[in-house]
Amino acid sequence: MISCTEFIPAYSDLFRFLEKRDGKESVIRFWHYLSDYFLGNLQETVKKEGIQGCWTYWSRTLSEEAADFKMELDTQKGIFKGVLRRCPSKGRLLKLKHFKAYPDYCGHCDVLYRRVLEPLGYDFYLDMSECDRATCRFYILRKGDRKPGPKPDVGTSRKKKPGVRTKPRA
């Protein structure tokens, strides 16, 4: 048996195995399969409870995964926001000195959750810009509640050093 506490490296290596066999496309196909056949509990919970279902689902899974996280739910605005200050899965992979994680390990979250939530009427935004530090933020919003315009600020960008410009002046 592989302990559930050692699942993450096994999962990461399954992505690597599939990619080596059949390319990145095969990894994406597997993520679709997993989303369809394994995330039924998220789908059912959100169908039944609406945006509150996101709270129900992630409060259990992130607690069982001993994550360092913050969640925020606003049922009136139809917004759920999760901040993983230290993703337990990526954090574990980063700690392993003898084991190389699949480079796009975090990509599975974007594919799996989006595929469940979008057909249920929610937008899913995931910021993976700090994945290399096991930090990410996701934002789920009831479709139609968002006004047209730029993507919501999910509080993702690293703080800029004072005086450092990201764009050259015209």
Partner: protein, 155 residues
Amino acid sequence: MAHKTMSCKASDHEYLHKDFHGALSAGIEYLHTHYGEQAVRDYLREFTRKYYAPLRRAIRQRGLAALKVHFETMYTRERARFRVRLTRDELVISVAACPAITHMKSHGYPVARLFHETTRTVNEALCEGTPFKAELAEYDPETGRSVQRFFRRSR
């Protein structure tokens, strides 16, 4: 309640998310269906050789005592009922019910047809390059009850 927040530190909870057994099972079934039985064994063997490299090194250095510690730690953490018997040349682990299968069955996750390979292939791969061999002496696919035996290879 219209607005609520929750903040947790890693130390607030124990790391034990048993639904991961269901995800591994789904992965095994997917590989089996799309790539065949041998792919399941190849994947598990490759993973074991890489991820458990420190354990395999410990087996070469300290023998079956290293494996005993590994299994005791794992099955205790997973709250399994198990017995371990270690002699100079043999380690026998008797597990009353596989905690992964117990969890999957009680939560409605399908158990992959080749789920037992997570025991058999993994144990065999753990022993590669060591003086020991692994044998899945008994296995009940319904409950995952098993007798796992590790013994010294004949010279």
